[in-house]
Symmetry: C2
Subunit: 258 residues, 2 copies
Amino acid sequence: VNLIILTDSDQTTENHYRVTDRRAAHIRTILKAGPGDTVRVGLLNGPIGKGEIVSVTDGSVDLVCQFDQEPPTIWPEVDLFCAISRPKTMRKILVTAAMMGVRRLMLVRANRTDKSYLASPLLTPEGWTPFLIEGLAQGGLTRLPGVTVHPLFRPFVEDNLVQFFGGKKDTLKLISDPTAVATLTQAWSTCEHNHILAAVGPEGGWVPFEVGLLEQQGFVGFSLGPWTLRVETAVVAVLAQIQLAARILPKGASSAGE
Amino acid sequence: VNLIILTDSDQTTENHYRVTDRRAAHIRTILKAGPGDTVRVGLLNGPIGKGEIVSVTDGSVDLVCQFDQEPPTIWPEVDLFCAISRPKTMRKILVTAAMMGVRRLMLVRANRTDKSYLASPLLTPEGWTPFLIEGLAQGGLTRLPGVTVHPLFRPFVEDNLVQFFGGKKDTLKLISDPTAVATLTQAWSTCEHNHILAAVGPEGGWVPFEVGLLEQQGFVGFSLGPWTLRVETAVVAVLAQIQLAARILPKGASSAGE
């Protein structure tokens, strides 16, 4: 953990905060910090800074905080569109998405999503928020990704995605596809873009109908490499490659044509 | 799992193989395959192909195999040099290294490696091999990474690394370092290279002495992105970025100077 994430509800008076849950335990037992020590803190959806510990009890830690820094800027903006997976995988996707600065996480029922996964409490704000906060704390970020759940694939792709991104020609839409020949580089140059929408399928992959529908909506398939990755590993690899590509490649088609 | 990994000791007669462990359970309960069905198989350190199931009992599955394909070529060759981490993290590193085609995995005691981790059975061939095979089966690869364990950091870096790579000027040596300013692209151009040695530190990072010693040996620091990743996530991100960089960038300094 690189940051203790605080929320408004932890605030006691102006710059005083009290934490009582896993964060208190983390400060005491992992960081082994006590009164007078300083820990890095971040305000959820806000700035980061330092918290001086003023008192520690068995169950709580009181901090006086100075928030004097903006969190790191994440560029490009990435929205991630993932198939709903089994809970063990979903937890990892939630942590990774927050840790690696995803703006919006869209969880969609795919053909290979087992029906039972839809009932998981992870697909509710109470279920997903702790894992997102764990990811923010690890990644040193504070902006909570927006999460939406879509139990119907086709209306999601045909209607919701069009609503979110349809009018915007500046979204590069990517599907990670182990069978694709193109690399991210080749997919990159297919449109001028200021932000990215990346789709990662379920274990076993998207079915052809799903890939077809996504391609109709302008998604471009690309291969991460010569291996077949687990879903949670593919999410990390996609976000890591996007980060590198954004630093070395122009923003797509029109730059190349200038 | 994308491949059932077979070894010579599974062979009963010429092209007949019998599996009796987790692989048999996987075929029966996850793949739900029975006599007449075909599964993808790979011979450890050998070719891949198809296995037709000829019989299934409670504890074993018999297959008739045709190995007619080479496994995917992994390029560039990557050797990974990781700090020894807690067992939970080590298991993930082992799986990832095999899944993503690492050639050699060097596990080194870092300053921040807790002494107790050195006693882990994971640091023995009996301990690490099952996790490597799990990774190969997932990644669709067959070449078992070579693993070595080095309890002393300084002799490892000054002697072993020089023995392995010292004479070869064609090794790009990278350290993933969240505080570095350079991207992988910038580090890439520092030497002409045919293969890569990448170092990933422990939770909390390398200490300055370690970074200094690695820099003396020609390692170049680079940042994966604006976040701070967990060790096991950093390993995936490093390997994913190397794969992308290798496809879009020339092989370093001399190409740029031509």
